[in-house]
Symmetry: C2
Subunit: 208 residues, 2 copies
């Protein structure tokens, strides 16, 4: 940690970044842990810097504030571009099933789940985080899916899909509703797949 | 407030409760406001007592701690028994549509919405509140609905319905996902009705 700090500090001072990648990654990792453990509001850049073993000035050097750092940590468990590409391979047919399968696969590892729960927690306690989640989901995830489905009412379709998947996160991982908390991934794909297919694809009126 | 406090205090002292109903209601109302504004964790019985204009000892007299008071406030916007009765009138046919219609009608007034958002916020930041919501939803709302539908897999069906409705609260009122935030109640009933019908009723294998 000490040598990392020295590297990055000297890199910054001299305008080169040999240790920059490691330092940046250490900050993101410390931030991810802090957001997962404390939520958005109670995490501080100072605390994150301490946990990463770097000078607070370095966090400010790499990230434009807590919100920017939070957005960065969001990309760790669920890289939206990769996710969407995976789901859209294979076209409209069974898109809903593939979406549920892909999401659950990405979410099930405890580390990803923690980040996701932290994200939802932040969205409920901070308007800034809610806006970030809104923009993230709208632009990078469900907006793309719905647009790919090509329906005229793509925005509402994407939002309905988002509501079901946010609800699954809440019910399965946060509230732990009996029945849903213990359901297997296969059961959920079977039940939720047709619903997501209905929201995103079925009965769509396409402009072309 | 002062006369109320005096009434209730004397009622307690002498073992009768002429002013008890008003004082109790004042405490519940103050608690509801506090939970809506601050969430569960940051609300205190002392602060609620102050807002209700009563002695903190009176809050402890009527309620067995913050969790019990919180459960009481949950019943204000959505009386589960009344809600379920309304939805179950008319049997299985179009149960899903009636559920969405009833829930949205109950939720739309700003006051109810605030309470609901506070409930969701609490559930994401406090395991105690999450357990309360879990028990509340399981026993009083979706468990009853699914049991009334009489399916063998009633618990999973109820949980899936819960996940979609929690998701609507999150997406429409908390995250305010574009498309869902502005959708009319009629649009949502049309889109969500068949999904809830599918979760709760369609294709059910009934034991009898």
């Amino acid at each position: 940690m000490t040598s990392q700090t020295a590297d990055a500090a000297s890199a910054r001072g001299r305008g080169r970044r040999p240790g920059g990648v490691d330092t940046r990654a250490a900050i993101v990792e410390a931030a991810r842990k802090s957001f997962a453990a404390k939520g958005y509001d109670k995490s501080s850049l100072r605390g994150i810097a301490r946990e990463a073993g770097v000078d607070p000035a370095l966090v400010h050097h790499y990230f434009d504030g807590k919100a920017a750092l939070f957005a960065e940590t969001m990309a760790v468990p669920v890289n939206p571009v990769e996710l969407i590409e995976r789901v859209l391979e294979g076209g409209h047919e069974r898109l809903g099933w593939r979406l549920v399968e892909t999401f659950l696969t990405v979410w099930e590892p405890p580390e990803s789940r923690e980040s996701l729960v932290a994200l939802v927690r932040s969205a409920t306690t901070s308007e800034e985080a809610a806006r970030m989640l809104r923009e993230f989901l709208g632009r990078e995830v469900f907006g793309r899916l719905a647009a790919a489905a090509g329906a005229e009412d793509a925005q509402l379709r994407g939002a309905l899909a988002a509501s079901q998947m946010i609800g699954v996160v809440m019910a399965r991982y946060v509230v732990r509703v009996p029945g849903l908390a213990e359901a297997t991934r296969a059961e959920l794909v079977e039940r939720l797949g047709p619903v997501l297919q209905g929201y995103l694809v079925d009965g769509a009126t396409r402009p072309e």
